[in-house]
Amino acid sequence: MGEAKQVTLYGFWLSPYCALVHLALKLKGVAYEYVEEDLANKSATILQLNPVHQKVPVLVVDGKPVAESRVILEYIDETWAEPSFVPSDPYSRARVRFWVDFFYQRLIRTMPSHPLDDLSTIGTPRKVLANSMVPPSYAIIRSQGEELEKATKEFIEVLRILEKGIMEDFPRKGPFIHGSSPGLLDIIVGTGNAGTKAIEEVADVKLFNEEMTPQLYSYVHAFLSLDLVKNTVVPYDKVFEAIKERRMMALSSSKE
C-alpha cells in the first residue's frame, strides 16, 4: 500500500455519470476533492483535462486525468484493490462487462453523442432525432400518447432482458449482484434508479418495480439502502425538478 494519492473529481452535480464516480470512490474509501463544473461555461481546466470529449466526469489522480465513466470505474477498481468491483475469474468478468455495455448501449446511449449527454445544452434547441435514435429514457421524457407507450415498452423490455441475463450469469450469492459487497453492475444499475423514478413520476409511466423485475429490484434496493449511497446520491427532489423541466421544454418545443 503506497502513499495516498492526490485525487480530484471534476463533475456536474446532476450528472449520473459523475454520481457513478462519487460512489465508486466512496465505496473504495478514497479521499478526494470535488470540483463542480459549469457545463454552460466550460472551464479551461476541463478543456485541458479532456480535450477529446470536453466532458465530465474527469478523474485526476496525481495530476493524471482519466475520462469516460466506464473507463474511470475500472480504473478506480484496479488502482484501489478493495473492495473489488468485478469478479476474479475472467469469464464472469467478461459477463459483467457485457451487461454494463448492454446497459450503456440500450438504456443510456444509442449513439456516440446524444442530447441527454450534453447537459450544457439545456434550454437550447436540439436537433430533432427520431425516438429510435435516442435513449428510451429521453424518448419517454419528450413523448406523449402512442410514442410514449412505445418508448415505455422498450425501456421495460431492456430491464427485463437485464434481469434475465443477470439471473443466468450471476447466481445469487448475496444482497448485491456482485455478492456480499456491491460491484460494477450494482453501482451502474443502482445509480440509474433516481432518474428512472423521476421519469416515472413526471411522465406518469411504470418502468421499474418489484412485480416486473423482482431480482433487479431487490439488488437496487439493497444498494440504495447503504448509508454511503444514501449520503452520496443527488437528492431526489432535485432530480425530479430537473426531469420535470426537461419534459416541459421538450413537450412545448414539439408544439412549435
Binding site: 477529446v52 489522480v61 493524471k64 482519466v66 475520462a67 469516460e68 466506464r70 473507463v71 474511470i72 475500472e74 480504473y75 484496479e78 488502482t79 475472467p90 469469464y91 468478468r93 467478461a94 462487462r97 457485457f98 455495455d101 448492454f102 456516440p112 432482458i161 441475463g165
Partner: protein, 223 residues
C-alpha cells in the same frame, strides 16, 4: 452431454468484420488454437443465436461452451484468460485506462464514420469526410512518435484500430479520401502492424473489402 464435447475455442465470425478481426488478432498474438466458423449473416446459425441472444451479432468467442460477446470485451477476456504471454494491456492501471479510453473512442467513431463514407453521397458525404479526417488526425496525434499506441508493445488500441485500415482503399475509391494523405504519421504504424503475423493473417485483402462494399452498395441501392 459428453465431457470434452464443448471443450476448446470457437470463434463465430464474418470474414470482412473488423470486429471479428480484432478477436483473430488477439488469439494469434496469444498463439492460441481455435476453430473459426464463418457465419452467414442473412441466415444466422442456431449456435450464434443461442450464444448471443441479446445482440445476435458476431463476433462471439465460445470457450469451453461459454460465450463471450462484444469484440473489445472478447479481446480483454483473451488477455485475461492467457495472462502468461503477450500481454495486450499494460500492467499499470493508468496506462490501462488510457488504452481503454482510446479503444472506446475507436469503437465509438471509426465504424460509424467510415460507413458513412461509402453510404452517403454529395454534401452528406462531404460532411462525413470532414468527420472522418478529424478522427484520423486525433488518432495520429495520440500515436505521436510511438511505435504502437501503447508505447513499445502492440496492444488493445492497435488491435481495435488496425482492422479498419483494410477499408482505407474503399474509402478512397468511394469517397476520394486518402487516409494515408490525411494522416501520414499513421502510415509507418500501419506498416509496422501489418508486419506482425497476427495482423497480416487476420486482415482481408483491401480489394476484396472493396468488392464487398460495392456489393453492399448494390444491396442498399447506392450508386
Amino acid at each position: 452431454m459428453a465431457e470434452g464435447e464443448n471443450k476448446g475455442l470457437v470463434l463465430l465470425d464474418f470474414w470482412v468484420s473488423p470486429f471479428g478481426q480484432r478477436c483473430r488478432i488477439a488469439l494469434a498474438e496469444k498463439g492460441v488454437e481455435y476453430e473459426y466458423r464463418e457465419e452467414n449473416l442473412r441466415d444466422k446459425s442456431p449456435l450464434l443465436l443461442k450464444s448471443n441472444p441479446v445482440h445476435k451479432k458476431i463476433p462471439v468467442l465460445i470457450h469451453d461452451g461459454k460465450p463471450v460477446c462484444e469484440s473489445l470485451i472478447i479481446v480483454q477476456y483473451i488477455d485475461e484468460a492467457w495472462p502468461d504471454r503477450a500481454p495486450l494491456l499494460p500492467a499499470d492501471s493508468y496506462a490501462r485506462a488510457q488504452a481503454r479510453f482510446w479503444a472506446d473512442l475507436v469503437d465509438k467513431k471509426m465504424y460509424e464514420s467510415g460507413t458513412k463514407l461509402w453510404k452517403l453521397k454529395g454534401e452528406a458525404q462531404e460532411e462525413a469526410k470532414k468527420e472522418f479526417i478529424e478522427i484520423l488526425k486525433l488518432l495520429e496525434g495520440e500515436l505521436g512518435d510511438k511505435k504502437y499506441f501503447g508505447g513499445d508493445t502492440f496492444g488493445l488500441v492497435d488491435i481495435a484500430l488496425v482492422p479498419f485500415t483494410a477499408w482505407f482503399y474503399s474509402y478512397e475509391a468511394c469517397a476520394n479520401l486518402s487516409a494515408e494523405k490525411e494522416a501520414p504519421k499513421l502510415v509507418p504504424w500501419v506498416k509496422r502492424c501489418r508486419e506482425r503475423e497476427s495482423v497480416s493473417k487476420s486482415l482481408p485483402d483491401p480489394l476484396k473489402v472493396y468488392e464487398f462494399v460495392c456489393f453492399l452498395k448494390k444491396v442498399y441501392g447506392i450508386e
